[in-house]
């Protein structure tokens, strides 16, 4: 009973935040609502027994996506002089769209309510968990049973980064990613930038290390590490790396490269991407370690953006 009340309240608050984020007039307000929405969704995931997802949502949905949106909004506002009207002003279109969205919602809800008896893969996963090399079932799926998805996904991140790098101005190519951040030494921001990284480093590494036994893993840990790096640079304690930097590029690709190499090596053990059960445990940990490094580097570079011309830095 009380659980239902909690769930119902949470659903309503989520819908309110999402409604303001999508319908609100003011763009900045919408972005703040989206950040709030990410926090709330993380709670919903806990209620659905998905701690791994909650971790990912807290780190990515509430954290990084919000940062990306805030930064983009600020930069666009400075560049786009007059902004276009925020919503379609033809009432007929708006009403038709609203009706269509309502019909689609009802259709999806109906489909959800009429789903047949659940036949999940909990049993299959549990049966094969011992041979997977991970004790956390989600990690077992991500790194072993469906490792090919994860491998491709780590490359999707790189594809997005390459796409962002194509947006650099030609004369800026090879330079430092993003804008230069300056802070006065001893300021609140600079102090904060000193205190947070050690804690964040600890948490990030812990999440990866603990990920094979309990919720956590390369993506969640990598995001935390990326956040640490971003804070350090925003606090002006470090400069963002040059996009032509060899060490940076090596860090970006090492995770996918090692994962791919392992996948190919698998054909000697029977099939593509086979992890021999006897070695799966440490192999997964090793892959997670390098993936974390690459994910952290890639995510941070996604946030920094393309290199900017020196005079603007």
């Amino acid at each position: 009973m009380i659980a239902s009340i909690f769930d119902l309240t949470l659903c309503l608050v989520i819908l309110a935040a999402a409604g303001a984020a999508t319908l609100g007039r003011d763009a900045f307000m919408a972005v703040v609502f989206y950040i709030v929405y990410g926090i709330l969704i993380a709670m919903a995931w806990l209620r659905l027994g998905a701690i791994d997802v909650a971790l990912a949502e807290a780190a990515i949905g509430a954290g990084l996506t919000g940062v990306l949106l805030l930064a983009a909004l600020a930069r666009v506002a400075r560049k786009a002089g007059k902004e276009p009207a925020s919503a379609a002003s033809v009432p007929a279109t708006t009403i038709a769209t609203a009706l269509a969205a309502l019909v689609i919602t009802i259709g999806i809800a109906y489909a959800f309510l009429t789903l047949p008896e659940p036949q999940g893969l909990q049993g299959h996963v549990a049966e094969n968990l011992a041979a997977s090399g991970a004790e956390n079932p989600v990690t077992a799926v991500l790194l072993n049973f469906r490792g090919w998805d994860t491998l491709l996904e780590s490359i999707v991140l790189l594809a997005a980064l390459l796409g962002i790098w194509t947006l650099a101005q030609d004369e800026a190519w090879g330079g430092r990613a993003g804008l230069r951040h300056v802070t006065r030494p001893g300021s609140v921001l600079a102090q904060f930038g000193r205190i947070l990284p050690p804690i964040g480093l600890l948490v990030g590494v812990y999440l990866v290390w603990a990920g094979s036994k309990q919720p956590g893993g390369a993506f969640q840990g990598g995001t935390v590490l990326a956040a640490v790096w971003i804070v350090t640079i925003m606090a002006g304690l470090m400069q963002a790396p040059r996009v032509a930097d060899r060490a940076l590029r090596a860090a970006l690709v090492i995770g996918p490269v090692i994962f791919l190499a392992l996948a190919v090596a698998g054909i000697f053990a029977g099939a593509f991407l086979v992890l021999p059960p006897a070695h799966a445990g440490w192999l997964i940990l090793a892959v997670e370690a390098v993936l974390t490094l690459s994910i952290a580097a890639t995510l941070a570079m996604l946030v920094f953006g393309p290199p900017e011309p020196e005079e603007k830095r």
Binding site: P116, V125, D149, L158, L162, W165, I267, F268
Partner: protein
């Protein structure tokens, strides 16, 4: 280690390794691409031989069978698309080696082009081999992000707008597809295509899922009315990128549609849905052709032509889907559409490469400026003409075989409307391709500036592609039999 595992590993990982290497070593792009072409082509050849001799290949990634793991499936259809992709990518990368050469210092466009192009290849191969709807989603996302990046690589205002427009359609398409996949998993506990075939019924969830997946993929294939993004995106990119975007990228989402409707959910295909898809295709065909007639830039003509040509790929649904699947004409219709997809990939890539070389020679692609270009670029214009023959569907090209098979099927099926549309498509293609060809062969204006020279070796690549499209028609028997290998369920009688 089996030969098939080695082949699949090469096809899947060589382009990805190449992309990562190119990302690491900025100025070695062309050399890395060459190594990738060799490795992937070797894997493709091995795979083709295995499929031809032993039939469809199945491989459980990591040794985990469905429903727990992801299954790779290489049948004739997959083999045909992989081989065509290898051929087309090889030619494109050969032409791209000059404009995107490494140089002394690293340049932005040259640096990003190579990893993006190789990632595009890797994503295509991953899609063509995957037998799992969620894995297909990840592959499709990789493909989409890379394609969007390639559209915007010139960094001009119009190309960025084109990339953004494409991105918006693609984002919506991905979400719809993902929604469908989520509903299917929730209902059936698997996203393996073979297992879904046994489980998908006509529950509300299945219908909503099928609608969402179809809508999402149609948006990514630029099916009318989701076509608005395509012409500016495909015409705004540099020619080698355009060739990939127009020749190969839309085929991937079409391929997933085929896998979905013919393999995962064949029983769900009611005649209404199939007619709708075919009808939208017919509309796209007419609409794209008419707009192509009105363009004054070569690349825009070619891009609108893609809208039209993709349109009649969708005739496969009414002719070979649903109740037609068990009919004797289905094999012909099915092969016809696949032939069309493959020959269009080669011909369209060839055309965009030709357009790129023409731009290199005269500095732009406005039609009047092309007058008499045949004297400066005889091989290029010849290749363009050959590719045009394929797009018009004239014998002996692969396009002709495709149309012949589909028309025969449409008469056999008692649906002559599609045959009429195919004839119309051919006539319209002839009309919109006539203008650039006629200009190319005309006498140049006296005062026209002399075109810049383009090396013969580079002109050879589009010619090879156009020839391949013709050869696909002349030697159609072997590929016809090949792409039938492992075809699900239906009658295998040909119509030849």
């Amino acid at each position: 280690m089996t030969a098939s595992a080695l082949a699949l590993a090469l096809i899947l990982t060589a382009p990805l390794f190449g992309a990562l290497a190119a990302m690491l070593m900025g100025r070695r792009g062309p050399a890395i691409a060459l190594a990738t072409i060799i490795a992937t082509a070797a894997g493709t050849l091995i795979l083709l031989v295995i499929i031809a001799t032993e039939g469809a290949v199945h491989l459980a990634i990591g040794g985990w069978e469905a429903p727990l793991g992801i299954q790779l499936r290489a049948d004739g259809l997959a083999g045909g698309f992989i081989a065509t992709t290898a051929l087309v990518m090889g030619a494109i990368l050969a032409v791209a080696a000059k404009p995107f050469a490494g140089g002394k210092t690293e340049r932005r466009s040259a640096y990003t082009f190579w990893p993006l192009a190789l990632l595009l290849w890797g994503a295509l191969n991953a899609i063509f081999l995957s037998g799992d709807l969620f894995n297909l989603y990840v592959g499709l996302e990789l493909l989409t992000l890379v394609a969007v990046a390639l559209v915007g690589i010139e960094g001009k205002r119009e190309t960025l707008a084109a990339a953004l427009r494409y991105m918006m359609f693609a984002l919506m398409g991905s979400l719809l597809y993902l929604l469908g996949a989520a509903l299917l998993y929730a209902a059936h506990g698997t996203l393996d295509i073979a297992l879904l075939a046994e489980r998908v019924g006509s529950a509300p969830g299945d219908i909503v899922a099928a609608a969402a997946i179809t809508g999402g993929l149609a948006a990514k294939t630029a099916l009318f009315p989701f076509h608005a993004w395509l012409p500016p995106a495909h015409s705004g990119a540099p020619a080698p990128a355009s060739a990939m975007l127009s020749g190969l990228v839309p085929k991937a989402s079409f391929y997933i549609l085929l896998r979905f409707w013919f393999e995962a959910a064949p029983d769900l295909a009611g005649s209404g849905v199939l007619m709708l898809l075919g009808g939208l295709g017919a509309f796209a065909m007419v609409y794209g052709s008419l707009l192509a007639l009105h363009q004054d830039r070569l690349k825009l003509i070619i891009a609108y032509s893609t809208v039209a040509q993709l349109g009649y790929l969708f005739f496969i649904f009414p002719l070979a889907g649903g109740e037609s699947a068990a009919q004797p004409w289905a094999a012909g219709a099915w092969s016809g559409a696949i032939f069309h997809a493959l020959s269009h990939a080669m011909a369209k890539a060839s055309m965009f490469l030709c357009a790129g070389l023409i731009i290199e020679a005269i500095g732009h692609d406005r039609l009047p400026g092309m007058k008499g270009i045949v004297r400066a670029l005889p091989m290029t214009v010849f290749a363009f003409a050959l590719a045009a023959i394929t797009l018009m569907g004239l014998p002996p090209s692969g396009g002709f075989t495709a149309k012949y098979l589909m028309m025969t099927a449409s008469f056999a099926a008692g649906q002559p409307f599609w045959a009429l549309m195919l004839i119309l498509a051919g006539l319209l293609a002839a009309a919109y391709l006539y203008r650039p060809l006629a200009l190319a062969f005309a006498l140049p204006d006296e005062d026209a500036p002399a075109p810049k020279a383009v090396s013969r070796a580079r002109q050879f690549a589009p010619l090879a592609l156009a020839l391949a499209a013709i050869l696909l028609g002349i030697l159609s028997a072997a590929p016809f039999a090949f792409i039938q290998i492992g075809r699900p369920g239906a009658a295998v009688e040909g119509l030849e």
